[in-house]
Subunit: 236 residues, 2 copies
DNA sequence: CGAGAAAACTGGTCTGACCACTTGACCTCC
DNA sequence: GGAGGTCAAGTGGTCAGACCAGTTTTCTCG
């Protein structure tokens, strides 16, 4: 099964963005240190000032630099300034290795948000038919994206009517999307455990928030443990 | 006490960004609909194409539009694509009114993340001296930003060693920062309740994760309730 | 009617100039 | 010596119009 991925010829703008981003994340450009002027970057990178500017605007949007008219552009401490949108960039270190602490963080947040969303869902969702249907379709689809429990949790999150959870889920998903196939394999155990899914749905159905919370937490803990084991195995 | 806020004369680029952003959020530009071409925007807005492009790059970075070389740039569904960084933009509707559902969402997430972070903190933090000091200094400082329990929760989040929580906290804070003074007043009850803070710290000190979780949840629930009451009062 | 070429879009980059703001050196005047 | 002002250099912000590189539509021709 050979799959061809489209060559991603990023724009110059994106290339510059990635390059500066990498230097900020690996510490080459520490917090507070000024970035070279746009004109300097222009000549050093061999691109136009417009290209440099577009890259800088995006870095600013991410909260990684602070641009000030007249003054120099400075690097900000991303651990203080950046939002969750930065997450996808933190998975791999400069040398390409997986950052286990980040992966663990994602799994922990997944569990906490998922559990609370299920609890809220129990108080705010009336019809669980869609949920049961989603569980029924689990593992049936072909592609890993659909095969994952994306649909189920989409419904739970939407049912919780919490926009923060919705946006957080988007960010988390954006983060592990590139490795969807691998994630699917690791989480196989969780995905196969229909009984736990049903337990969550039953609790939501009876509007029992605390039952929904604990059932969801138990369900998600399976995946958390599986990922933990995977990481431990990788260490060896 | 009259305070002078610096006049924020945004750049054209930011103005264009805000304008398009507003239209996307209020639905004037629905998901999937194509944006006018850069050249069209250029002439309609009376600015240069570079200005338009910088604005579009930022919108793309936020996950609000999808730019494709050769094709038209399209509006994406922010409820599916945008990450938590979008949050600060969702507080106020087009008419300037506060979106209660968003506020409620923030408080719920604050509570869930805070509780889980406290639990993790209990298993990962060894020295709680800094925490006790932070609580001791609560309410002593002058400005609302410091006066808020920012420092305390900063320490808890850092102690949890969960980068996702760290970034989420940044995003949440970014969201309610503009209204820090008001938030401080509403949360006064929570901030004054030293005993609850101490209970959290004690649990962390004894490495009792579940105790820390419930103590933190109870502490944060005070603020959640206060905000709920405030919103209910505003409805009247 | 269908396939393929051509034209007309779209976004991406280049050029070089000028405007607006901040900074810091220097200079004056108490 | 210190407080204030002036000025030049450096920074980001914007402008203009041109050309390159893809995509989409249109039109032509078999």
């Amino acid at each position: 099964m050979s799959t061809f991925a489209p060559v991603d010829r990023r724009s110059f703008s994106s290339a510059v963005f990635e390059q500066i981003l990498a230097q900020i994340l690996d510490g080459s450009l520490g917090p507070g240190s000024p970035l070279p002027s746009e004109r300097t970057l222009t000549s050093e990178l061999g691109v136009t000032r417009q290209v440099v500017r577009e890259a800088l605007q995006r870095l600013d949007q991410l909260g990684l630099v602070e641009i000030r008219h007249g003054g120099s552009t400075r690097v900000q401490d991303y651990r203080v300034r950046a939002g969750l949108d930065l997450l996808p960039r933190l998975f791999r270190r400069a040398d390409g290795s997986l950052d286990h602490e980040v992966v663990r963080s994602v799994m922990e947040m997944r569990q906490a948000i998922g559990a609370d969303a299920a609890a809220l869902c129990a108080t705010r969702m009336d019809d669980t038919a869609a949920l049961r249907e989603a569980v029924a379709g689990l593992g049936a689809g072909g592609d890993p994206a659909t095969d994952l429990d994306s649909l189920f949790w989409d419904l739970v999150i939407d049912g919780s009517r919490n926009i923060c959870y919705r946006l957080s889920l988007n960010a988390l998903r954006q983060a592990y999307q590139p490795a969807a196939a691998l994630v699917g394999r690791i989480l196989a155990g969780e995905l196969a455990d229909r009984a736990r899914y049903e337990a969550v749905i039953d609790a939501i159905d009876t509007h029992d928030a605390e039952a929904a919370r604990s059932a969801a937490a138990e369900l998600l803990a399976v995946g958390t443990a599986a990922v933990g084991a995977f990481l431990a195995g990788e260490d060896r």
